[in-house]
């Protein structure tokens, strides 16, 4: 037993106190017919063997390419202080703060997280975290349904493919409808189509979901979309990328009711898909609709300021089948990472990250255009954009061989959109170097030649 403390003597003493002869006796409540004789797994490994195995597995991944892949998950500088704080056992080996008297660390940290995300999004009610950006988007859609009593949600096609898929999965199970809004040739959502969809009296719309930046990295006319949604009695959901909020108009400013998004860029490594951080924020009037934990400020018997989980009647352990969501375990440690990250960067540091990415992306755009891969869309972008290359999948594969991960082949996400049949979605961030951009451009010139 690698971690258990019990010696045979310990076990004997326990059995004697219990008054049974063997551990087997404690399993006699399992009917003999279904008792297992044991499981067939590889032999136990002492730590030395295990660490060798894991180093080898990790070494089989290739993370040394010049990467321009974003598509919802972004390479960023993570200050060393973030992991230094997270590695304290007081954080990661604690449970949900059900006993507030001995959990003020976690409780205040969540409250700080709520405050920081409120500061970023301009929306006052922030949940303690959701699984990821896709599920928080789906939960946002469900919120609009609960808030309006309507069952149809509109989502822009220029939203991350997975977010649309997951929202569809979540909505379909409750019998709700998710309709997609087309995009214009400039890559932004077709607001005329939105207006038409909202106008259908037979199918009143609960919520409208647009991304900022959208899935092509482009800036959407969010305020206009929000106005249209509100005029039709629908709620407006902004799917955001949190670093961009250092410089872009906040969901609060553009009039969104809800902001959802992926918090991974805030100090969390890519790690092949998670754990990440589902951000969910809403306006005050939705405080009882928001799913997930909320921490509030209060005082103790002696008047000391303290924090506690609150408005718990929305949650599954109290409300059971009438809960706002079934969420229980969330992504608290990732929220902590984001909290440490944001307090380290501050408003100006975060702006440097966003602006640094924008500057690098402009250099990337110029370099790719110069070798024959022009930008596809006309709308303004922040740090991610699509370029045209003939036979994109082949080009992408050929770039890999040259040590360049040339973004996302957009055909994979939009198989039926001819405008995107030969497009690569590429991104740059503050960590993208000029040398990497030159490598990309050089490799692309070769491949396209």
């Amino acid at each position: 037993m690698p971690y258990g403390p019990h010696t045979d003597a310990d076990r004997e003493r326990m059995l004697a106190t219990i008054g049974v002869a063997s551990v087997d006796a404690l399993f006699e409540d399992i009917p003999a017919a279904v008792r297992s004789a044991g499981i067939r797994l590889p032999a136990p490994e002492p730590e030395l063997v295990l660490t060798t195995r894991l180093s080898q597995l990790a070494g089989r991944n290739r993370t040394d390419l010049a990467s321009f892949l974003g598509a919802g998950v972004y390479r960023h500088h993570i200050p060393a202080v973030v992991d230094a704080m997270l590695q304290r056992g007081e954080w990661y080996t604690a449970y949900t703060p059900y006993q507030p008297e001995i959990s003020q660390g976690t409780l205040q940290a969540i409250w700080e997280y709520q405050s920081l995300i409120a500061g970023l999004t301009g929306l006052p009610v922030v949940s303690a975290s959701h699984y990821d950006g896709a599920t928080s988007t789906a939960e946002a859609a469900l919120m609009t349904i609960r808030a309006t009593g309507r069952t149809r949600v509109l989502v822009s096609r220029a939203i991350h493919r997975h977010y649309r898929d997951v929202t569809r999965t979540y909505l379909a199970s409750g019998g709700h409808v998710l309709d997609e809004l087309p995009t214009l040739p400039d890559g932004t959502t077709d607001l005329a189509a939105l207006e038409r969809a909202l106008a259908d009296p037979a199918q009143p719309v609960a919520g409208v979901i647009l991304g900022q930046p959208n899935a092509f990295g482009l800036l959407e006319p969010m305020a206009d979309a929000a106005r249209l949604a509100h005029a039709a009695g629908a709620r407006f959901v902004a799917v955001i990328e949190p670093v961009s909020l250092a410089v872009l108009a906040s969901p609060g400013e553009i009039g969104a009711d809800i902001a959802a998004g992926e918090g991974q860029p805030l100090g969390i490594p890519p790690q092949f898909g998670g754990p990440y951080l589902g951000i969910l924020a809403a306006s005050d009037d939705l405080v009882r609709q928001i799913p997930g934990r909320l921490v509030g400020r209060t005082r103790d018997l002696d008047g000391r300021r303290a924090f506690v989980m609150t408005l718990r009647a929305r949650e599954q352990d109290i409300r059971r089948d009438r809960a706002a969501s079934n969420i229980c375990t969330n992504q608290a440690l990732c929220a902590l990472a984001a909290t440490v990250y944001l307090s380290t960067m501050g408003p100006h540091g975060l702006r440097d990250v966003a602006a640094g990415g924008a500057a690098a992306a402009r250099r990337l755009e110029a370099a790719l255009a110069a070798v024959g891969a022009p930008r596809i869309h006309a709308a303004p972008y922040l740090n991610e954009f699509a370029v045209h290359v003939a036979d994109a999948p082949r080009v992408h594969a050929a770039l890999l061989e040259r040590g360049v991960l040339g973004g996302l082949v957009l055909r994979d996400w939009y198989p039926d959109d001819p405008a995107l049949a030969d497009a690569l979605l590429v991104c740059a961030t503050e960590v993208t170097t000029d040398e990497e951009i030159a490598r990309f451009a050089g490799a692309l010139r070769e491949v396209l030649a």
Binding site: M1, G4, M14, A25, L41, Y92, T96, A134, F272, T310
Partner: protein, 528 residues
């Protein structure tokens, strides 16, 4: 220590309140090495403080962004330098109880030791730095690990296929129930609109059923704590899509009539879902798939020691028998004939319920669980459960005199005790017992859960606590019962040694203060 000394201490403390920029005097006493309440980040912020992390971009970096898309003022974030950040989060961490700090017998949560090698493994740059959309060729290490983990979790459950996608237990439940729905739909069985859930089940079970669009039918427990089989049979009907069973139950009991129960469920055309959050009790002793369950989820953050993180993240893989495999969410990890690994491609398994999250799972958590399983092997995992059950039965035997233990033994990994009689005799409630345990140096057990047992304590020691610690906890629990009779005020006042005393939760809920309201934007413009 004499009482006089303690009074000197008290007097001394009263003289040294903590100075807090924001709300003067409200943070209690100063202390050099102990836990001290902290001002918030906002209160700690000073305009102009920072530690440079990234280069300043050129002044024209944002010229391409039209003004209409720009935010009016920098976001309301605090300004600190690195030492300020470190002090803040180190100081906050000291206010937390944790497994690294002590015994954490929180029932239903399996607060076992979190091995340090798991943390090391998850941080290996090859694992941590991998983009989730990286082409398969770049991801062979993690894919192999995931593929192996799928297989190991299938073996442990006695099932045939596993998805690693769900981010937590509840997420796994939703996934499993959607798979069940897809199964019935695919067979043209459209009228199944109900999910049956025992009243002892975890709250996520009925909440999941609702979320998936089902009506929840709750059935009572039998006096022995098991499912009331007659009630179950009565509730089963052609409308039943599934029965969700937490096994061992939230009472810590294995469902003794499991064979009969599964037969009844299947006879009604329904499927049997096992909430496997409590697998720590039965590893190598019971394989749900082999026994006849159709689908189950795991809580890797319980059974397989991935840390709870103060509330998450976790992972809730779902295992199914072969007939449900077509409906699992996409993508699974598959192994090619040539030994290479890849993610399923879009549309490759057309029956799939689709995606339940972006990308393919909380891979960082999966690395930890894989490491844990490999460290144990099959024999080790069986010993895990043996020792967990042994510890629970030992504690149960030790506290049985001082508290009522409503269900007959043996229990599995946890057991329910109740302070009902104590309350009648002394007015002391389970809440008071729990708070007093804090003064005795322990995290309290889960209380008032499951809801069906009055004044209950759900106690789960796990297999990684020493006999000395089990005894110390049992002694404390017994001592608290004695205190309840002799000094009930000690329990009403408790805790008195924690950083804060009991909280005003009512005001918190009545006037929610969910964020710092003082900051509206950074106080200084961003330097160009």
């Amino acid at each position: 220590m004499s009482l006089e000394v303690e009074q000197t201490i008290a007097a001394a403390r009263v003289l040294i309140p903590l100075r807090d920029r924001g709300e003067e005097g409200s943070l209690g006493a100063r202390n050099a090495v102990g836990p001290v309440l902290q001002p918030t980040l906002a209160e700690t912020s000073t305009p102009g403080r920072r530690t440079d992390q990234v280069p300043h971009p050129p002044a024209d970096a944002l010229d391409g962004i039209p003004a209409a898309h720009r935010r009016a003022a920098p976001p309301a974030l605090p300004e600190l330098n690195e030492p300020g950040v470190v002090r803040h989060f180190v100081a906050l961490s000291k206010l937390n109880y944790s497994v690294d700090g002590g015994f954490y017998p929180l029932g239903s949560c399996t607060m076992k030791h979190n091995p340090k090698v798991n943390e090391w493994a998850a941080r290996l740059p090859g694992f941590a730095g991998l983009h989730p959309l990286a082409p398969d060729a770049l991801a062979q290490g993690t894919l192999e690990l995931m593929w192996e983990l799928q297989g190991m979790l299938a073996e442990i459950s006695g099932m045939d296929a596993v998805t690693l996608q769900p981010a937590a237990g509840a997420h796994g439940e939703l996934t499993g129930i959607l798979v069940i729905r897809a199964y019935h739909e695919a067979r043209g069985d459209h009228d199944r609109t109900e999910v049956i859930v025992p009243d002892s089940s975890h709250g996520t079970n009925p909440a999941t059923a609702s979320m998936a669009g089902y009506r929840t039918v709750t059935i009572p427990s039998a006096p022995d704590g098991g499912v009331d089989l007659d009630a179950l049979k009565a509730a089963l009907s052609p409308r039943t899509a599934a029965v969700m069973l937490t096994n061992p139950s939230t009472l810590g009991l294995f469902e003794r009539r499991i064979v009969e129960l599964l037969d009844a469920v299947h006879a009604a055309g329904a499927l049997a879902y096992m909430d496997g959050a409590n697998m720590n009790a039965i590893l190598g002793r019971f394989q749900p798939g082999a026994a006849g369950f159709d689908v189950m989820h795991y809580n890797l953050h319980k059974t397989f020691s991935t840390p709870h993180g103060g509330g998450g993240p976790g992972a809730g893989p779902v295992a199914v028998r072969a007939h449900l495999a077509p409906y699992l969410p996409t993508p699974l990890v598959v192994r090619e004939a040539d030994g290479r690994f890849r993610l399923e491609r879009d549309g490759e398994r057309p029956g799939s319920i689709g995606r339940v999250r972006a990308y393919q799972g909380n891979a960082g958590v999966l690395v930890r669980a894989y490491t844990y399983i490999r460290a144990h092997g099959g024999s080790g995992l069986r010993t895990v459960s043996d020792d967990a059950v042994l510890a629970a039965n030992y504690l149960r035997a030790r506290v049985e005199g001082a508290y009522e233990v409503p269900y007959p033994g043996p229990c599995k990994h946890e057991f329910v005790a109740t302070a009902r009689l104590l309350k009648e005799a002394t007015g002391v409630r389970t809440l008071d017992v729990a708070k007093r345990l804090i003064d005795h140096g322990f995290h309290p057990p889960t209380i008032y859960f499951p809801l069906i047992v009055e004044e209950c304590l759900l106690i789960e020691p796990t297999e990684t606590e020493t006999l000395e610690d089990l005894d110390a906890f049992a002694d404390a629990l017994i001592e608290v019962a004695r205190e309840a009779r002799e000094h009930p005020e000690l329990l009403h006042e408790a805790p008195v040694t924690a950083p804060v005393r009991r909280l005003d939760e009512a005001t918190a809920a009545r006037h929610p203060e969910l964020r710092w309201r003082g900051m509206t934007g950074a106080e200084t413009p961003c330097p160009q």
